[in-house]
């Protein structure tokens, strides 16, 4: 290992590049800081700079059944949608490794990734018609969950198949020559290899679904709101600091979740590296 070749190759050009990167990062942080700042105002409307300092609006949001119901609905939809998308995305990625023809692999892969580009509104409209036709689906969350799962599935697929592509391709043939049946191969060889990637896919899928609003606009049963929908409505009405307080809380939750996940996966890789080092020195 030597000094980073890229750093050396680009030389003093790093400075302007770094400058632009820092300015770009402001695009992320400034709006967020404004949201957080306005949430502790004492006034009954959003104002910047905030006036005074109080946690009134936080307790207000946490005690408001409208916000808390929306939060619970979102949790339910996200959890169910994540499970479905992880199962489907993983199955798709596994199926891809079992295709022999290169052309077929290419097409399946494209078909699984294209949905990332399809506008959510298209899913929404399609499922909306189903909603109108099938009365039984009219006032529950089933269609919404299904739609959200479809939206998140490509991300799971991408992450899991990148995990599978790093694996030794000889393992599976080796196992089958040793007489392992396919359920055994999936259970003992494929799944342990991609467990980490599945978890990453699940976290990503949860985040995507939790933040998604278009499908809720179309598919949420009358009177039921997901959290993003509640936020959207709130931001189109009188701007109450409830909105920014709720936004801050949700962001905190997201940061905690992602932080815990990256801490966990860092531990995992560190442990794997230690094990690899021990194996080479032994």
């Amino acid at each position: 290992m030597t000094d980073s070749p890229l750093r050396r190759g680009i030389g003093w050009w790093r400075l302007p590049v770094l400058g632009v990167a820092l300015l770009t990062s402001l695009l992320f942080y400034v709006p967020f800081l404004v949201v957080v700042a306005t949430s502790w105002t004492e006034t009954s409307f959003i104002i910047f700079p905030p006036q005074g300092f109080s946690a009134t609006w936080y307790s207000d949001v946490l005690l408001d059944p409208e916000w808390m119901d929306a939060f619970k609905v979102s949790l339910r939809v996200s959890a169910a949608g994540t499970v479905i998308s992880v199962v489907l995305g993983t199955l798709g990625a596994l199926a891809l490794t079992r295709l022999r023809s290169r052309a077929a692999r290419r097409w399946v892969r494209t078909l699984f990734i294209v949905p990332m580009a399809i506008p959510p509104v298209a899913y929404a409209v399609g499922l909306y018609s189903v909603n109108l036709e099938v009365a039984a689906l009219g006032d529950n969350l089933a269609l919404l969950i299904l739609g959200e799962a479809l939206l998140a599935m490509p991300y799971v697929f991408v992450m899991v198949s990148s995990g599978l592509s790093q694996a030794d391709p000889a393992l599976r043939p080796a196992a089958s020559t040793l007489g392992a049946s396919w359920p055994l191969i999936v259970w003992r060889i494929d799944l342990p290899m991609i467990a980490g990637h599945m978890l990453a896919g699940a976290v990503f899928a949860f985040a995507v679904i939790f933040d998604e609003v278009v499908l809720s606009v179309f598919l949420a049963p009358v009177g039921v709101k997901t959290l993003p929908l509640q936020m959207l409505n709130a931001s189109q009405e009188a701007l109450s600091p409830q909105l920014t307080a709720a936004s801050t809380l949700v962001s905190m939750l997201a940061v905690l979740l992602l932080g815990a996940f990256s801490l966990y996966s860092n531990r995992r890789t560190a442990r794997a590296r230690r094990r690899a080092r021990k194996a080479t020195t032994a």
């Binding site: 290992m1 030597t2 000094d3 070749p5 050396r8």
Partner: protein, 353 residues
């Protein structure tokens, strides 16, 4: 514009790992020196130090007597053939070779002329407009060499130059590179873990082990007079026996040992069991006999558990040496036995040298 290279007590630490622990090496102008060592011995790090790709924590690197540790790589005028060749994709062969000249801001006509000269030098005269991925491995290596020499560098560095070639091509390219190096007359430092390659190409070979240079000498001296057991068994095959100042000791006298005798397989002969008594010999059971074209290879398992390797001329009568039979081996020529002094005094002499 070839230069004299001098490396003086260079230390490099990466993380908690001291990769180079005080390495000193000199190369005269036009000399071909090979760094030979197992992976992890620090040889590639030393090459990077010379190229300027690795920061030196202590010690000096001198080009023609001038210290260059603070000179950035692009100002050192070194030519490097990288292990993967690192040819630039989406550039033609000619553009690749002319790259160092382009970087130096030379005019286009001159770039074209020198690139053509360099391609002629490596026998790729008509290939200037080809793409690099249409070339064979051997041709890619020649392009990498032509590029390394294009800007008339003071020193040529080869990082495992044969690693990406198959065995037959390897031997051809070793001779070829050596020929070009001699024609250009450039000081060259090569890195390899292949001892045959080191012996074929180099004027001198430097054996590296755990971040230190163990011995720097001509291939012949290294083979005949290794300074320690590591060098003896790293370069060629060696049978090691306890010895005193005169020669190897027979079984039962090993407590008198003051050194180690290095006996090469070709210096062992098969003795008639009856004549072995008055001179040094080793007895054992034949565990392997194989014909390898120019030699027979015989392996003997001694009662002490040692495996002794012996190389016999191809016309030897081996009917009595089939696996399982008893055999006695002795020295063909006691003068050819090299003795490594392992006593404290001997170690000190070695250190002083």
């Amino acid at each position: 514009m070839t230069i004299a290279l001098s490396i003086q007590d260079v230390h490099v630490t990466l993380g908690h790992n001291e990769v180079l622990k005080g390495v000193s090496l000199d190369a005269a102008p036009g000399e071909f020196v090979t760094l030979l060592g197992a992976s992890g011995s620090g040889k590639t790090t030393l090459l990077n130090v010379i190229a300027g790709l690795q920061h030196v924590h202590r010690g000096h690197v001198l080009f023609d007597g001038q210290s260059v540790e603070r000179r950035p790589p692009r100002k050192r005028k070194v030519g490097v053939v990288f292990q993967s060749y690192a040819l630039f994709p989406r550039m033609s062969v000619g553009e690749n070779v002319a790259f160092p000249l382009r970087a130096a801001g030379r005019p286009k006509a001159e770039r074209r002329r020198i690139a053509q000269e360099m391609l002629d030098l490596v026998d790729l005269g008509g290939m200037a407009d080809r793409t690099t991925d249409s070339l064979s491995g051997g041709q890619q290596q020649r392009v990498a060499l032509a590029r390394a020499l294009a800007a008339n560098p003071g020193i040529l560095l080869l990082d495992e130059p044969m690693a990406a070639l198959d065995k037959q091509l390897r031997e051809r390219m070793q001779v070829e590179i050596k020929r070009i190096q001699q024609r250009v007359g450039i000081t060259t430092l090569s890195v390899t873990h292949d001892q045959a390659e080191a012996m074929t190409m180099s004027d001198r070979v430097a054996i590296m082990h755990h971040g230190r240079l163990i011995q720097v000498d001509t291939p012949e001296q290294l083979y005949r007079r290794p300074v320690n057991e590591y060098v003896a068994s790293f370069l060629g095959e060696a049978n090691l026996f306890p010895a005193d100042g005169q020669g190897p000791l027979g079984s039962g006298m090993t407590d008198r040992a003051t050194g180690t005798a290095v006996i090469r397989p070709e210096d062992l002969v098969v003795l008639d069991p009856r004549q072995g008594a008055d001179r040094w010999h080793v007895r054992g059971v034949v565990s392997l006999l194989s014909f390898q074209g120019s030699r027979f290879r015989l392996e003997l398992a001694t009662p002490g558990g040692q495996t002794v390797v012996c190389s016999l001329p191809p016309h030897t009568d081996v009917s009595l040496l089939l696996p399982g039979s008893e055999a006695t081996l002795g020295c063909a020529e006691p003068r050819h036995v090299h003795i490594i002094d392992t006593t404290e005094a001997g170690r000190l002499v070695e250190l002083a040298a």
